[in-house]
Symmetry: C2
Subunit: 115 residues, 2 copies
DNA sequence: TCCATACTTCGATAATCATTGAAATAAATA
DNA sequence: TATTTATTTCAATGATTATCGAAGTATGGA
């Protein structure tokens, strides 16, 4: 990933409604979520959300497909991981202190066999 | 860090000139870099860069101080780390596959006692 | 004090982004 | 086929963002 691509992906999540939508979609996981349910959960007009979901799609961070009457949105995990990789590696590699602190992850990473 | 704060920080780096400035400042490190040198390096008008540096400052991602005639900019590493933490933990914790692939860090995390 | 240097702020302008009701499209159902 | 449901697209509007020359501010010398 290079700069322009990264700044586009960042723009996509650099907006409260879209960042929020993103969070909800992360929780929704592989099965995704219909646009309407998302609009309701985020309490925004459907046309407004539709606009924002389009932005996420155009940035490659989400995909959509029709299922009956609903249109299901889900995240494009790879794209997000590429972005995070870009930020932590390509961009911040000059400074290791910028790496994500992972104290809280040690347990899930190491199944505390020492207890 | 919560949503609004995060989206502000994201907006700050979601622009090519600013993301580029950010990268250069990461390399510059603790000693920082004068605004003029940065403008030259990035090949943008001084007033344009001044505008963008102000954005980085307002988002809390950079600080500046005068040194003689120059104004030195440097990164606020904590703020950036908080943002990366937010993205990887608060935001993506529902999906471990979004975590930064850290093959190179696994050894430092789990001292593979099970071998 | 006068001048050059290093920046920032201002002001005008252009471009992009966000919001929402209304109209359009598409699929399920009566 | 007419209706309801789910969602997008359109159009109008307002808000924010970006650009850059010119003017302003602060500092260090001559």
């Amino acid at each position: 990933m290079e700069l322009i691509e990264a700044s586009k992906a960042l723009s996509a999540i650099a907006q409260p409604i879209r960042l929020n939508a993103f969070r909800v979609l992360v929780v929704a996981g592989e099965s995704g979520m219909p646009a309407g349910a998302l609009a309701e959960k985020l309490k925004v007009a459907k046309s407004t959300l539709s606009f924002h979901l389009k932005e996420l799609r155009h940035a490659g961070l989400a995909t959509s497909h029709r299922e009956g009457r609903s249109i299901i949105y889900k995240l494009e995990y790879d794209a997000m991981r590429h972005l995070l990789d870009y930020l932590t590696k390509d961009c911040c590699s000059g400074h290791p202190e910028l790496r994500v602190s992972n104290e809280s992850e040690i347990n899930t990473c190491c199944p505390t066999t020492h207890v």
